[in-house]
Symmetry: D5
Subunit: 96 residues, 10 copies
């Protein structure tokens, strides 16, 4: 089941550079593991921003909540969620 | 080059059913031709709405404008556009 | 899987009374059938408005889309959707 | 008398983990006591967020105020309130 | 139990003057009957607008819904509702 | 001359409890003196919030400004003001 | 007593030109009479729009309401009102 | 050439009183000098707020920018700007 | 003197195609004449929309108003205006 | 390929003057180098604000992201991006 999630990162400007670097590294590893598993299906940067557009493929709402609230950057992000489903005009098999 | 485009359809409630059906059929054909060509890369329905989330893969801004303004439903839609680019944490080759 | 859906009805003031009455009757029957099936779990009027707060229990996003877009009043409503899941502090078994 | 209440938690990122844990534990106990009493009728997590949707069953506006303003997380939340009442299409006896 | 209700009237500019006058007369009678009964406790015009601020004193949410949805101008108004209760600093006995 | 004023209090979460208690006590005394004088005509809590709805009866805009800007909580509040006047349908003598 | 009022005109595009011209002429006469009387103290066009910024000098809220609701264009305008008073740094005698 | 400028002051609540007093005194002197020169033509307090409505009479956009960005309170204000010009219905010679 | 102006066209969907074509042709001629004169300095389409971003170079606010309100599409557009001036970091002579 | 970018600077009021001056100097050098290269085509100050309107001429979305996210003031700015393309009514060769 697919969800579009948009995340905008708002790190406090006075966060020590070292702490920021550490969170970002943990976030990257966390994200890549989920991509490997096929649960984080797409991840794009929105050009000109510190934001991304992501497509998640999860079992249900509960798994979405588990994945998103587990993001190391979760406390520093504004997040919006849209549930997706197959569009009647889509010709792509995996756009379910 | 990728763009995320969100479209919300607002057909006037008093449009004759036949006219609406015709526009939607033309829209479907238009959309599927662009999907075939690889220019309309993804197309999802936003669940609980008359809206979609789409990913376009175009040459440049001008081609995006040509495709979007050519949509048969263009006069009846609210449209938002986000330019996308590769995310440094993405592991997927075609998420450029 | 649960979703909260808020619907605000905006009937055109010049819709003939008979037509409005007919749509509302169809909507009521449609809604009560889904309540009977357990898919429309709760339905409340928001006091002082022509709006409701609803809780749906569906298989997945696709079923939500099918039910909501099938509402006879769908072309006349503003609709917002929130995916729900179990809250770690809930003590109620069916608040999943 | 029913109210829908949506709460979004905004803990300051620099709150010490121990203090946050303590507030959350107090909040959980406070919430579960009210659920036991039947006053906090439903409690759901909004998937992909640090927010909840709740349904309260209280005597009157004053009791709602007493319960909500007594929440341990009250100073850290954005809260919206909607008064609910029976929907004419509802078939569920306790959706009053 | 008190509610603050703000109503903004949006009559279609092309409504025939006679029809508008009739609705307004019915609205006035409806409003004055409820004021007589003590249910519509205050009614003020917002200066420089076609809007009012009202205070209702009703049994519960259901009665508020019954009164507000019964307003002859209901289909032509934007309405917002705030539940009120006694303020701990109030010295006025009937500001409950 | 009447004004509706809505005030939402936003105390910084890290304000020492003693300081907050002192400001609130001063605010209460200030408010009750103005209520005694008939200038602060109504004061209600908005249920489920740290906000109030107030009706002021003042000589002119300048007196409104003097009273509101003199509130001990003024630096910590979001405030909106609506000038009121008699509604043609009001039957209450002092709703001028 | 001064009020700043901003008015944005939204004439329906299908209003017959003759009717529009007539309303605008009546509006102009109405406005100039009030300017003559000193009640409509300033009137400026907002450059690049069909909107104005006005300063009214009236007895009280009731007179503001009488003047503004009497505007021939009143049913076709979005209007916002701000009560003004003397600024402590003003050196201009009539900026009261 | 005239501009309407609205300024809302947002001083950090924890700014030392002495520092705030100093900035305000500098602001007052700065403002009164410009009023003396005829460049800051009107200055009103918005009643019930820490905001003002001002009318500036400047040579061009560049002078507006120089004056506004030179305000001692500039870093602490939300500012909106509207270019003004003569209204065809104005009868006042200096409302150009 | 420079202004950035953003215009979004909202033609009524039921405007006859011939009438729309005529207005657009007039608009194009009007726009190109002003571009020739150097008053409409830049004109870009916003990709994926029926909107443009324009830079005007005019004598003063009054000339901006004259040009913008004279646009054949003026009654059908949402328009926002930003006064521009030279940026201290600009190295381009005509970005004044 | 052109993009309009609007940037509003929000420096924390308590940033030491020296640190602010250093960031601004770096920003200026960074900006002027990109102007020299033809990538930052226009740069204007929005009069009455700490904001700018810029036009970038880049290879693709990825280069836009690289340039904007590399701005020394990037962590302190609110940024909005609009993709531009040639307008059919433009007569200026380089407004592509």
């Amino acid at each position: 089941m697919l969800f579009q999630v948009e995340m905008t990162v708002k790190l406090p400007p006075d966060m020590p550079a070292e702490q920021a670097a550490k969170i970002k590294a943990t976030e990257k590893a966390y994200s890549q593991k989920l991509q490997d598993q096929g649960k984080w299906r797409h991840l794009w940067r929105v050009a000109g921003s510190y934001a991304n557009v992501s497509i998640f493929d999860v079992e249900d709402n509960a798994e979405l909540q588990k994945i998103v609230s587990g993001l190391p950057l979760f406390p520093y992000m504004e997040i919006s969620v849209k549930p997706l489903c197959r569009h009647p005009s889509s010709i792509r098999d995996d756009d379910r």
